[in-house]
């Protein structure tokens, strides 16, 4: 058995910032457990940028940033958390800048900022269209500098606690196949999002399978606001790979079959720079009403046109986008418009935490996309995700450092390891009458049509039933690969089982929230209903194994809910 003071699960922006925070304290034994090598984490795929009211381009302040965020969230964000994040933003940007992060610059040497959806000022700091990538590399470099200890290519299987406090985790060493108990006084989950549930239509990495929330759910820890899944307006037609909002920030147009800039009908003032939920629905409406394009494979889409930006600007500000469009769609945006369609992108919901990342179990924290503080409420603004992960990764790290100085290790029962061994052995011995890939695709379709961009009661009820049915059928999936050296068949199966578990909470939350708010849009309840639903949904697994839902008030400080118009 391994033993540490703090274990951080996940090595993206939140995990690495938490690790950096713990590395400031000497003599603390910390390990970062990641199922990939740290710089492979999905934070690296974030293209557009990170918001902070630096005011380098136009006068700005954290309060305006807070207001835009709260309004963008459709007033479901907790305002104390939003204020904290927006206050910390300029300092944390400068902290990373001092670490060597290569932000794009203005002529006067200061950090450049560009406009993004839902923001009232050019507030998004960026490094061309590779902001997440350089951020992840910079944080990793600093971790190397500070001697952070990594357990790379380890897959976390379960959380171990005594009902009150955390005792550690059980994890699988992917290279050797060993199942190992890891004791710790504190565990910080930073496992990222779960939009891979929409398998065939998502911008997410293959591993964004909700491992953190699924483990939490199994351990009796509640999840919050799971019904809110953001569809990013501009995913590539075939693969769902993302075209950054920066492309619209730089002035890209959305065009339908009639050559019309259709956003004028949905957000006449902000046009393409309206928030993501609005733009996604606008595109889907165009497609549903027959004003989209259709290709030979049956994919439906509209165009994102960048041609008028000119070769120079595209090469300078959006070089990666150009390459993605060429490699994955065979389209050079300098000469042709890019075929796009909304793609499942971001999980607003996650493990229920307070502003320090604390969960119901003492010593168990969650930060970043796997957690829900909540600062994004019902809809996240572009550029606020990278900010969320660093701010709350840092705060969780800080709080965990304080916490572990006051407590000792809990006993860690070996049976927790054996339980996972049994679970995996059972996967090798199943009858194999169900196939992993088929069920994964089925889950994707059920979620896309039952709990996607547009939702309604009848379809969601069916979806919930189908998810439960898939969960039952999943018990028959067999892991055919029995060799324990880098068994990716086993890993993909475990990831799928996590996704099914999380999917159920999304549909249940969506069914119970009988209103439309942010990314959650109900055809049968098209209006926001503050009287009944200005509150967070909380879902947990009861002792009987069934999911149960409860509600929690939203924290409102400065900004009273008002109608959201753009």
């Amino acid at each position: 058995m391994l033993q540490y003071d703090i274990i951080i699960v996940g090595a993206g922006g939140a995990g690495l910032y938490a690790a950096l925070e713990t590395s400031k304290k000497e003599n603390l034994k910390v390990a970062v457990v990641s199922k990939v090598f740290p710089t492979r984490s999905h934070t690296g795929a974030a293209q557009g940028g990170i918001n902070a009211a630096l005011g380098n381009v136009a006068p700005d302040n954290p309060e305006k940033h807070s207001y835009d965020t709260v309004k963008g969230s459709d007033f479901l964000a907790d305002q104390d958390a939003v204020e904290l994040m927006c206050q910390m933003a300029p300092k944390i940007i400068r902290e990373m800048e001092h670490m060597g992060l290569p932000f794009s610059r203005l002529e006067n040497g200061k950090i450049a900022q560009r406009p993004f959806g839902g923001a009232s000022f050019p507030r998004t700091c960026y490094a061309a269209d590779k902001t997440g990538h350089v951020m992840l590399q910079t944080l990793y470099e600093q971790c190397v500098k500070n001697g952070v200890n990594f357990l790379n290519e380890w897959f976390a299987l379960s959380l171990v606690h005594n009902g009150e406090r955390i005792a550690g985790i059980v994890a699988l060493n992917l290279r050797t196949g060993e199942i190992v108990g890891i004791r710790a006084k504190a565990v910080i989950l930073a496992t990222g999002g779960h939009a891979r549930i929409y398998w065939k239509r998502t911008s997410n990495a293959l591993g964004n399978t909700g491992d953190g929330p699924a483990m939490a759910l199994r351990a009796g820890v509640p999840l919050k606001d799971m019904e809110f899944v953001q569809f990013h307006p501009t995913g590539l037609r075939r693969t769902g790979i993302l075209v950054t909002e920066g492309a619209r920030g730089e002035g890209g147009y959305l065009i339908n079959k009639d050559g019309e800039r259709f956003m004028k009908r949905y957000a006449p003032e902000k046009m393409e720079l309206a928030p993501r939920d609005l733009v996604s629905r606008a595109i889907e409406t165009e497609i549903l009403e027959g004003r989209g394009f259709k290709d030979a494979e049956g994919n439906k889409f509209v165009y994102l046109d960048l041609r008028h930006l000119g070769r120079k600007k595209i090469l300078e500000r959006l070089p990666q986008i150009r390459e993605l469009a060429i490699d994955f769609e065979g389209v050079d945006p300098i000469e042709e418009p890019i075929p796009i369609r909304p793609t499942a992108h971001y999980s607003m919901g996650g493990i229920d935490t307070d502003i320090y990342g604390r969960t119901r179990i003492k010593g168990l924290y969650a930060a970043g996309e796997c957690g829900c503080v909540s600062v994004h409420g019902a809809n996240r603004l572009g550029g606020n995700s990278l900010l969320d992960i660093v701010v709350f990764g840092k705060l969780a790290g800080e709080d965990a450092v304080n916490y572990v100085s006051e407590v000792s290790l809990l006993p860690f029962e070996e049976s927790a390891v054996r339980e996972q061994e049994d679970r995996i052995r059972a996967l090798f011995n199943n009858d194999g009458s169900e196939k992993l890939a088929d069920l994964r695709n089925e889950l994707s379709d059920v979620m896309t049509y039952g709990a996607g961009i547009f939702r309604e009661e009848k379809k969601m009820k069916e979806a919930l039933e189908k998810v439960r049915e898939i969960k039952e059928r999943a018990k028959k999936i067999k892991v055919y690969d029995t060799d324990m050296t880098f068994n990716t068949n086993l890993q993909q199966t475990l990831e799928f089982l996590n996704m099914v578990e999380v999917a159920e909470t999304i549909v249940l939350g969506a069914l119970e929230r009988k209103e439309s708010r942010g990314a959650h849009f109900r055809l049968d309840y098209p209006k926001r209903d503050d009287e009944n639903f200005l509150k967070h949904s909380i879902i947990e697994r009861g002792d009987d194994g069934e999911l149960k839902i409860s509600w929690k008030p939203v924290k409102i400080t400065k900004f009273q809910p008002e109608e959201r118009k753009y």
């Binding site: 690296g44 300092k91 500098k145």
Partner: protein, 321 residues
């Protein structure tokens, strides 16, 4: 919709089970638009769940999935199957793990030694207190032209593709390798860094002068980083800080001096200036042969006609650097 039957010939190896690597063939019907990674996942999903490979972002930014396709290393996720069939005029694609690293299983290699080497080379910013403000109330000033010097090198995704094709990595275990050395250069020209040109000493310690400039690392880099350019510039910095006492640096200096003196390369003086008397003696038999065949000039050379112009161009080029 265009479809083609493709045979994927994949190198398999599980060191715990197999005494030797072997090739296994899978026939797949591929639609236009499919990437190599999608094809691998199709095989895993539908034909053989034991086929092992790494993949994560599937959009060419995480660096997990570098493999060799018909002998050439690429990211599986951004390589179109139809594109490869076109290039090689074939219906058979051979997929193998990348080189210079031990195979863990099938297409999965152990990149630890490459990464560990980089981690020893201080691949992180050490803030210069003269430049980096003491508080978080201010940011550093970095001008666009300063950023331009190192920005390209921050595109590196640590996919280790360049490392896998490097001939020097193969023969010199102390050699830092393309991506780690390029990263050293990246920090050496970051105005916020405290070590600055002194970073060239790290490159020096990790045998950067052994790079033979074959440019393979530049050819294969999926992000167009061209690590070799970083290595060359790092060498330049090492000469700037006076690390001249090695054959590589002397060779560069001899080239430069020769061009400055006459506008032509003095091949007779070159060994003398690079390797000293010992070098001349070593190269003497070759030199004599060359003179006899009329392939070498006399050591006494007249400057070329446009010599002054050339000197001006050289001077301007040095200033730009």
């Amino acid at each position: 919709m265009e479809k083609r039957k493709v045979t994927f010939r994949i190198r398999r190896f599980n060191p715990k089970k197999d005494s030797q690597p072997y090739y296994q063939e899978y026939e797949v019907e591929v639609v236009k638009g499919m990437t190599i990674l999608e094809a691998l996942q199709f095989i895993k999903d539908n034909i053989d769940p034991t086929l092992s490979f790494r993949a994560f972002c599937r959009s060419a930014i995480c660096g997990s999935c570098s493999v060799k396709i018909n002998g050439y290393p690429k990211l599986a996720c951004k390589t179109q199957v139809f594109g490869e069939l076109e290039v090689y005029k074939t219906d058979i694609l051979t997929i193998e793990p990348i080189d210079n690293m031990e195979v863990i299983r099938d297409l999965i290699v152990n990149w630890d030694s490459a990464i560990e080497k980089m981690e020893k080379m201080r691949p992180y910013l050490i803030p210069d207190p003269e430049v980096v403000p003491k508080t978080l109330d201010e940011e550093c000033k970095v001008y666009p032209n300063e950023l331009k010097k190192f920005d390209r090198f921050t595109d590196c995704i640590l996919c280790t593709t360049c490392y896998s094709v490097c001939g020097i990595v193969k023969v010199d275990s102390n050699y830092g390798g393309p991506f780690p050395l390029a990263r050293v250069y990246r920090f050496a020209v970051d105005p916020r860094d405290a070590l600055k040109k002194e970073r060239a000493k790290i490159g020096y310690t990790f045998d950067m002068w052994n790079c033979v400039r074959c440019e393979k690392c530049a050819d294969v880099c999926p992000k167009h980083v061209a690590p070799v350019n970083g290595i060359m510039k790092l060498r330049g910095l090492s000469i700037d800080i006076g690390l001249k006492n090695n054959p590589g640096a002397r060779h560069v200096a001899a080239f430069y001096k020769s061009l400055l003196e006459s506008g032509m390369l003095n091949e007779v003086l070159l060994p003398l200036r690079t390797k000293g008397i010992k070098g001349v003696l070593e190269n003497l038999p070759m030199g004599i042969k060359m003179i006899l065949k009329g392939k070498a000039h006399s050591p006494i050379m007249k400057p070329i006609a446009e010599h002054e112009g050339l000197r001006k161009v050289m001077k301007a080029a040095m200033e730009v650097e």
